[in-house]
């Protein structure tokens, strides 16, 4: 199964490299939202950790949505999803491959967005770069698991670009809440362990949705 997952991940990354416009549109979108917040928030408030951690993760969610939209769009073109689904591999492996492809894509964008966020708002972000990256990985795993499942579910629906966030955002609230609280702890200089309960919630969210999505993906794709 690991080999099948790897095959799908490599294929997705190869497609992402060939379609660099996906990556650049996600990156520029993230930077644009950060700039809007930088201009919109009063200078005094913009230094407050409560607001900044919210801003960081809203940007993450909105730009992550772009990566989810493209993940099944390229499978639907020319009916590739059918060729993928008739392959003799566990469909859970297809799900994990597509999910991990999305996670890698999101992380690469985050590596570039985190310094921009630090420069615009809070220099301590750069000091905590590795923690922010770990947080982004954990958030991307949960977001990618639930998002890939829902993107697959809505891939045949006409208004999928609208329906996907409508389904995803309410379900992602626990993850968002945990990420915001952990980030507040990081920015306040308390370290990641200052929000240990939230960290456990985040890991639990990832584990639950990864397992559930792995198990139900087959049924979602075979309606």
């Amino acid at each position: 199964m690991v080999r099948d997952i790897w095959t799908v991940v490599i294929k997705d990354l190869k497609l992402d490299i060939r379609r660099a416009e996906n990556f650049f549109s996600m990156l520029f979108f993230s930077v644009t939202i950060l700039l809007i917040f930088a201009f919109a928030l009063p200078q005094k408030q913009s230094t407050q950790v409560d607001i900044l951690s919210g801003v960081f993760w809203i940007v993450f969610l909105l730009s992550g949505l772009l990566s989810l939209n493209k993940t099944f769009q390229q499978e639907k073109e020319n009916g590739c999803i059918e060729a993928l689904l008739v392959s003799p591999v566990n469909r859970g492996a297809i799900f994990l491959g597509k999910m991990l492809g999305t996670v890698v894509f999101i992380l690469i964008v985050q590596i570039l967005v985190i310094p921009v966020f630090g420069i615009l708002f809070h220099h301590s972000v750069i000091e905590n770069f590795s923690w922010f990256l770990l947080m982004s990985l954990l958030a991307a795993l949960g977001f990618g698991s639930l998002g890939t499942l829902l993107a697959g579910l809505t891939s045949d629906i006409r208004f999928r670009e609208i329906l996907l966030p409508l389904l995803l955002f309410p379900l992602i609230i626990p993850l968002l809440l945990a990420c915001v609280r952990i980030t507040q702890s990081l920015l306040a200089g308390e370290g990641i362990l200052g929000a240990g309960d939230w960290l456990r919630l985040l890991v639990g969210f990832d584990a639950i949705f990864m397992i559930v999505s792995f198990l139900v993906f087959e049924f979602v794709m075979e309606l």
Binding site: K11, R18, E77, N78, G79, A83, N90
Partner: protein
Amino acid sequence: MNPNANPVTLLSVRNIHKHFGYKQVLKGISLDLHSGKSTLLVGRNGAGKSTLIKILAGLMRPSNGEILYRKESIADNPEKYRKAFGLITHATMFYGDLSARENLLFFGRLKKITDLNEKVEHALLRTGLSHASDLTVKVFSTGMSKRLNIARLMITDPEILFLDEPYSGLDLESIDLLNKYLGDFKSKGGTILLISHQIDACYDFSDKVAFLIKGVIEREIESGNLSQSELLEQYQNQTYMRPNE
């Protein structure tokens, strides 16, 4: 030994129903597919032919009924079953931003094909696509994409073929290539279920013709009992339908 001397039932379709909401598309389809035999499925647009192929390929769940591959339910070991069949549909089913070779290698890896590189080169050569193997598939014509589909079937070497309008968009040379491949496939004991409106192109290697009418297989005829011209005439005039339809 001739593999077709004693044909075995590779696939048994038992009482398949499919409904979308209140609309019943398939109403109790039962069909046996034997090794070394080819079945041509004909019917009007909307009769349920493509839905049946999707169900047989595991792309859609039937509302009711069972499919047996070598006497085992396909639900018991879906991966073993998926390794056994090949599929051609209306869509090309290739990634436009990958080259022809990359596409074949990707799908070959998923099918766990041994000696994959050699098989890919051989299939590209046989389908006349060696010169275009490094081009991205998005620049391929419809005919070239169909040839690439034949190349995929060659490397994956299935036992059963589900073909949904495989002749559409093919020039005469490509039709010959496909028919030669299908002839070889059958002679090695493979079984084919084919949907096509181009009856003249596929009649010669069809052993049985099944008429699908409003979600029901109304008639199954050995092709020896019905000449091509009779079939064409019935097909064009829809005289194979029941009088009250």
